[in-house]
Symmetry: C2
Subunit: 385 residues, 2 copies
């Protein structure tokens, strides 16, 4: 079936034709001047997206791999960290840290709830001996469709005077929602290629503050592949300690150019408007959103399944009849919710296609809603009236 | 400059147009049935290339990352291994192992020399307490252009009766020269996507024997991203614990189909004949080969630089005038040798282009050789006379 597909999982995302074509270029030497220039251009562009002057490191890995790299570089066995646990992916960071011998103070929230600044402030206040080396949290948790107020949280952490670093999982938020690495003082920002950056999976990306480097120099955790000091040293000449996935760098340069052409603020505004249209049309159809009000993600919307609609039926119908791929509930949310990713390559017109297909499929599966409801709510969101 | 490039470093290699085009397909869900089928097909195809019934694991990493993954999965801190050190890449395995707290008994050879079965037998015989958990060696060391006789070595290790596992770095030899994982009893075979498999870099590949799994179950080394048990568990349903680089899998399936169409034995024969042509033409030009006679690699030929020819001049001239990218000497071999990769996508006609350009460039740089010498030696290698 060669129809156009709507890949609306919370990443990997659809990617622009310009990027796809750039991936199909003949392979170049990873030790030559052409690749070195490409790396330099990519890092310069990433700094603009990260809004940072910190070092940017690129890793041949998934986003989870990049999160593990941060753990093994920043800490030593026996160190203590505080970690928000709001869903599968933030809990994974806590799990990886424990696997590597850290003491993890979890700040656990019911899935669907955001973590609030006072909750973190309390954990830091209780830590009078300043044992906590870092606070780890996701900007966006795709399990539940919740976006934390990272600006307020980082400000609160600074105000406590506690010296803990701030480490943020921005895998599903970078280039989707505002993230001011330097202005907000985020020491470690971890992301990946396959979400807001509109690339295939294959690159992990990490920004590292000077304060983080101090911790990194003290780390005794065994490592070679992940070793930021080795990587940073080679990056001085835009090289890597091993063979990096060169092809994706062609795509990264192209994707960064696309983002720059649109303007980062416009990218954020587009994601915001599209997310509102998805939420408004869902609510207009009588569907309940899973995320806490006021903390809904602009990357992914998590929608409670109506009674009597089975997830498998909805998923199959959307895929087979409409070429639309949605995400299901993870772990305990399986069969309870469905997830619509709206990040990366997505524009206003696409929202009609996606949400009208969802409406039609729900109706076909017995859900009662007047046809056209979703489209009307989307237009009401978009139109200046 | 849009001329055709000859990327003749020891990998990444040139890759077929069919593979390049397959990389430019729209992104698919890494959790959907289409990708699961793709993974199943790729693993089935890889088993044929690996000549194994062992488990095949695919990692989102470089080849060095896959080597690190083997170290952290097989061993525990304080364990002892024996590691051949013949060049930069085999020494790297020893280094990674030491970084992770292993005792490494190095079997060090002068660069350019192969490791011989009796040398390994002696190390194992000296280890009366059977402390050595594994013998690590490369099938092919690209630093020096040396290929070890893996068949003889593995047979010798078996004959000693020592229970050590055999772990082989086949990054630059898989699908280039014969490797019988099961018939030779190799427990761990590590490879990558960007060499004989004719793909962009981005995938590490490891085969794991039942005997290796026994050791893996006892390992106390901290890990999550590299954890073979987690990966194996998810691979039961052709899934991954994280987002794998889906696009390269399209390419992998295509590359495996290309290899199957040619026939693995024919792929090996082609590499052997091309390597002979490169060596014969080099010798005909009066150039000295760096590798020990009888152990020259069929993936990469390392050639001593003639006196009065500077590597930088040769590299620049070949690149600018002929679009030919060669490799230089690593570490202490810098300025002493040059390396021609002839693995993956390369056929007989290409050898004329490569070696005649080398001949012409050397002559332009003052080296004395009769023009046409290389071509004659290549034809003499190819022709059945």
């Amino acid at each position: 079936m060669s129809r156009r597909k709507y890949l609306q999982i919370p990443g990997p995302t659809n990617i622009p034709d310009r990027v796809l074509r750039s991936l199909a270029q003949p392979i170049i030497s990873h030790r030559g001047p052409e690749f070195e220039q490409l790396v330099a251009d990519c890092i310069e562009g990433l700094k603009k997206v990260y809004r940072t002057e910190n070092d940017i490191l690129i890793l041949p890995s998934s986003g989870s791999g990049a999160l593990e790299s941060a753990i093994v570089n920043l800490f030593s066995p026996g160190d203590t960290i505080a970690a928000a646990s709001l869903g599968v992916f933030s809990e994974r960071v806590a799990l990886i840290a424990e696997r590597h011998g850290l003491n993890v103070i979890r700040i656990t929230k019911e899935w669907g709830q955001a973590i609030k600044p006072p909750e973190i402030a309390q954990v830091l206040a209780d830590d009078r001996g300043h044992k906590i080396k870092a606070v780890c949290l996701p900007q966006n948790e795709t399990t539940s469709g919740v976006a934390n107020d990272l600006k307020a949280i980082s400000q609160t952490i600074k105000e406590t005077g506690h010296p803990a670093l701030i480490m943020v999982d921005a895998v599903s938020s970078l280039a989707c929602m505002p993230l001011e690495t330097d202005a907000w003082g985020i020491d470690i920002v971890v992301s990946g290629s396959q979400k807001g950056l509109m690339l295939p999976p294959g690159l992990g990306i990490v920004s590292v503050s000077p304060k983080a480097w101090t911790l990194i120099e003290q780390s005794t955790m065994p490592k070679w592949y992940w070793d930021y000091q080795i990587i940073k040293d080679r990056l001085k000449t835009n090289q890597f300690p091993y063979t990096p996935p060169t092809s994706i760098f062609f795509g990264l340069k192209e994707a960064l150019a696309i983002i720059e052409e649109e303007g980062l603020e416009n990218v954020f505004a587009r994601h915001k408007q599209i997310a509102e249209a998805v939420r408004n049309s869902s609510k207009a159809m009588g569907l309940e959103l899973f995320a806490e009000q006021g903390y809904e993600s602009n990357s992914v919307t998590v929608i409670c399944l109506p009674q009597n609609v089975k997830y498998e039926d909805l998923e199959r119908l959307l895929y087979e009849k409409y070429g639309l791929v949605i995400g299901g509930g993870l772990q305990k949310l399986q069969g309870q919710i469905f997830r619509i990713g709206h990040l990366g390559l997505i524009h206003n017109t696409d929202v009609y296609a996606i949400m009208c297909a969802v409406e039609a499929a729900l109706v076909e599966l017995g859900y009662q809603v007047e046809l056209g409801t979703a489209a009307r709510a989307i237009s009401e969101t978009f139109l200046p009236i």
